[in-house]
């Protein structure tokens, strides 16, 4: 009982809570400053994203955000930052599109093959960034970022010339053949992609919590020298984590192509900024699996709700973007609510200090 109370108090005092509350308060100040009603605005965000009309969009957006968040969280768990999510995402998408268009197999098998093609393309490209660090000493942060641009350009070229839909004025591939599509839930825009991503999240959670590999990844993130001392080989881990990361990004790309409008359209995978939103979510949760899921959902709500708020009120949706960034600034600085009573929970203190680095906020 007392323990639960302490936990609740700990959670309330955690930087996550502080950052979210501070973000909301500052956002409210912005709103008041522009003459809007913060309650109405936040209300519109909530009803617009979680109401009957919005939940489908939230889950659809959430699929991509969570997918990219997982992709970036997995290496982040070991302290590696992959800034090349866009390139891996796009290559996954284009690989899936090519497979979907030219596979001779029956439609259901083609779907599976296209998903696999996306996964492989993303993984291979991300592994290239890892090789740049392992073999050439170019920091992963930079190599992944720089590699991202040529990948998006390549995809852009492919859909402009060799893969272009004849007669279309858009740089897009032909529509995938009938049936080469992920199953959709009812009349919504939510596809089986959500299931795949949720499964990936569950697998990540499982690996993180319950496998030796997950343990090694966590320990590498907390103290790389410690992990190396115990026999974890950093280069190999980097390569594998990046490949996994790219695989997930590629999967998100493939899901994007195998969902409406069932084709690869230049820029449509990257323009919504899932990579950055995903990275933000992963950072916000310190790459912890459940935290990443919660943060991704939070951002999907903000994005979909923000757009809805803009439609129904006078408040621009950039507000939600600002809110998102403020939350993460506060979190990075590990600000928290001041302690109310000094005497309590001494042994808890260091535990409470680290949730940004380790803890599950659940």
């Amino acid at each position: 009982m007392d323990l639960t109370l302490d936990r609740v108090k700990g959670a309330l005092r955690s930087p996550v809570t502080f950052s979210v509350v501070a973000g909301l308060v500052i956002g409210a100040l912005f709103l008041v400053g522009t003459g809007a009603d913060p309650f109405a605005a936040y209300g519109a965000v909530v009803t617009g994203s979680l109401g009957a009309d919005g939940i489908g969009s939230t889950l659809t957006t959430g699929t991509s955000v969570l997918g990219m968040a997982l992709a970036l969280a997995i290496p982040l768990r070991a302290g590696l930052i992959n800034l090349g999510g866009d390139g891996q995402l796009v290559l996954g998408g284009i690989a899936a599109a090519v497979t979907g268009l030219y596979s001779p197999l029956p439609a259901p098998l083609t779907v599976v093959l296209a998903l696999l093609a996306g996964v492989v393309a993303g993984a291979a490209y991300a592994a290239l960034a890892a090789l740049c660090e392992n073999r050439f000493g170019v920091p992963l942060l930079v190599s992944s970022l720089l590699l991202s641009y040529p990948a998006t350009s390549l995809a852009s070229y492919l859909v402009r010339y060799p893969l272009k839909e004849p007669g279309s004025s858009l740089p897009q591939t032909r529509r995938l053949p009938e049936g080469v599509a992920l199953p959709v839930f009812g009349t919504s825009t939510v596809t089986a992609g959500l299931v795949l991503i949720v499964l990936a999240a569950a697998a990540y959670w499982f690996a993180d919590r319950r496998t030796a590999v997950g343990y090694e990844i966590r320990m590498t993130g907390l103290n790389a020298r410690f992990a190396a001392y115990a026999g974890v080989e950093r280069r190999r881990l980097t390569l594998r984590l990046m490949a996994t990361s790219g695989a997930l990004a590629g999967l998100v790309g493939a899901i994007g192509v195998l969902s409406f409008p069932y084709r690869f359209l230049d820029g449509s995978l990257t323009a919504p900024g899932y990579t950055w939103t995903g990275l933000t979510a992963a950072l916000l949760a310190a790459a912890a699996p459940l935290g990443t899921v919660v943060a991704s959902f939070f951002f999907a709500v903000l994005q979909v709700g923000g757009l809805s708020m803009e439609r129904t009120t006078e408040v621009p949706r950039e507000l939600t973007q600002v809110l998102q960034a403020i939350v993460i600034v506060f979190l990075a600085a590990r600000l928290r609510f001041p302690r109310l009573r000094r005497s309590r929970g001494k042994p808890q203190e260091p535990a409470a200090r680290e949730p940004a680095a380790q803890g599950e906020p659940v």
Partner: protein
């Protein structure tokens, strides 16, 4: 041996060599260069300095000695304004002072060379020397003046260094010179050197002493913190010995001997001097031939099941590098390492562990643990691929927790729950965690480095008992320690490392402290044809 009713070495205060003139001792009417009175400094859980009096006369080289953790560095930090004393007073040239910062101490004519160099590797010698005290022209660093200054000071004091060399490219001996030049540039009249020769070759050390003597000849004063008896005997005028934060001897170097100083230094709590019964050696577990790696040359040694082989030596003589090379964390450049008859010279750390090696590293915060991770996670490391992971790499949290509870109980680690982060543990408890984790492997070979550094007396005893029990269970242990009493109490055979080589090997019976102390200070003959790893009890 049990602890005598009164500390025998206490007599050394008036010393075998005869006492120096008392703490008040102003010589020739001049006030002492430095006079510390009743300095007390307490850290949480440690009384680092306990009413220390220290008098340093102008123009002398005054050695400050004591075992690891005796409080030497703390005392110097207090003197240099980096730590505030809890009690006591400081006089410089007779005037009472109170320093709030190193800057203030510098202004009073003190200068300190720290135990680990405080240099900027990418900057030039001249830049390092004038940093924060730059000669200027139009607001710019007057590089010509800085260079000139380095040359002048170098010529004056025999500290020749190329002013334009990048400090990072210099050998340690020259870096040491740069440190001293830094002080001289700032006009320091009293130089404090904390273990300046720990990383120097004997030739470099000799050169340093020549410089120090020339400095004192010109009226400067040197306080030298060191572990090396030879240097003290050859280079210093007076010696003050600290033990457990207290002054236990004040000696005039000319009238004392290495044995006298060593006796004063090591009159430590009885538990450490307890000699455990010898082991019964079996098959060779670790066999090293002609091993070379950065800082280690041509090391030959072997460790057998059921024995503890101790490696004694002053820190920085290659012990850490040797152990890292054995553990697979450092590339071996020469020689061969065999573990239970299998060649593992180029095996990875993971492969060596799988073949039966456990390792307690020296640095428990940066290497041995992940302070931010929970106690349970820290205890699982290394076991996570073996005993704890059931099938196909699954690592059930329940197994990790059970393992943690087991080890916490067995090794008496004081942790509220296995979920608290390791950073919440005290140093001693963290060390117990680390040793418990590595012992729990039951690996045929245990490498253990400085197992009791910074650990309280009770924990030391527990750790020693564990190590002996481990040996008696038929495992091989390679123990690296800078604590002579530890080595003597535990090891069945003792090797001494000096300058990256094994320079002496003793049976436990023949290794008294004076002999060892002498060998550690490089007094064990030349490195050629050293007995190295050849088991002295011959087989």
């Amino acid at each position: 041996m049990t602890r005598p009713p009164s500390d025998p070495s206490a007599a050394a205060v008036s010393g075998p060599g005869g006492a120096v003139s008392g703490p008040d001792g102003a010589v020739g009417g001049l006030p002492p260069a430095v006079e510390l009175r009743g300095i007390t400094k307490r850290f949480p859980g440690t009384l680092a300095n306990d009413a220390v009096d220290l008098t340093v006369r102008r123009g002398e080289i005054h050695a400050l000695m004591g075992e690891n953790g005796a409080g030497k560095s703390t005392l110097m930090s207090v003197l240099y304004g980096m730590e505030r004393p809890d009690a006591g007073s400081i006089r410089i040239d007779g005037a009472e002072v109170s320093f709030g910062s190193p800057g203030a101490a510098m202004a009073a004519g003190l200068g300190m060379v720290h135990q680990s160099f405080k240099l900027f590797d990418s900057l030039t010698v001249a830049e390092n020397v004038v940093y924060r005290a730059e000669p200027r022209r139009f607001g710019l660093v007057d590089r010509a003046a800085a260079r000139r200054r380095v040359r002048e000071l170098g010529a004056e004091h025999g500290l020749v260094v190329d002013p334009d060399a990048r400090v990072g490219d210099l050998p340690v001996g020259l870096r040491q010179r740069v440190e001293i030049l830094k002080l001289l540039h700032r006009g320091a009249r009293t130089l404090i050197l904390d273990e300046p020769t720990a990383v120097l070759t004997p030739a470099e050390a000799d050169a340093l002493f020549a410089v120090l003597r020339s400095l004192t000849a010109r009226g400067r004063t040197v306080i030298l913190v060191t572990h090396k008896l030879r240097e003290v005997l050859e280079g210093s005028d007076n010696v003050t010995v600290l033990r457990d934060g207290r002054v236990v001897a004040r000696l005039r170097t000319a009238r004392t001997s290495g044995a006298g100083i060593a006796a004063a230094m090591t009159g430590r709590a009885v538990e450490l001097d307890r000699v455990h019964p010898a082991g019964t050696p079996g098959d060779v577990v670790l066999d090293v031939e002609g091993l070379g790696t950065a800082g280690v040359h041509d090391v030959r040694l072997s460790v057998r099941a059921g024995e503890i082989v101790g490696i004694a030596g002053v820190a920085g003589n290659g012990q850490s590098e040797l152990v890292e090379a054995l553990a697979g964390l450092r590339t071996v450049t020469a020689g061969r390492v065999a573990l239970r008859g299998e060649d593992v010279t180029h095996a990875s750390a993971a492969e060596r562990r799988a073949k039966g090696l456990a390792y307690v590293p020296e640095d428990r915060h940066a290497v041995g643990t992940a302070p931010a991770a929970s106690v349970a996670d820290n205890l699982a490391m290394g076991h996570h691929r073996t005993s704890l992971s059931s099938r196909r790499g699954l690592l059930p949290p329940s197994a990790v927790r059970a393992h943690a509870r087991d080890l916490v109980g067995r090794f008496g680690v004081k942790a509220a729950t296995p979920e608290v982060p390791a950073s919440a543990l005290s140093g001693g408890n963290l060390q117990k965690l680390l040793i418990g984790r590595e012992l729990a492997h039951g690996a045929p070979l245990l490498l253990v480095e400085q197992p009791t550094r910074g650990v309280d007396i009770g924990a030391i005893q527990a750790i020693h008992d564990e190590l002996v029990a481990y040996r008696d269970a038929g495992h091989a242990v390679l123990l690296v320690s800078a604590e002579l009493s530890e080595i003597r109490g535990l090891a069945d055979r003792i090797l001494v490392m000096y300058e990256g080589r094994v320079t002496a090997a003793y049976d436990r019976a023949e290794a008294d402290e004076a002999t060892l102390g002498l060998a550690m200070a490089g007094g064990a003959g030349t490195t050629t044809g050293a007995p190295a790893g050849a088991a002295p009890d011959g087989d």
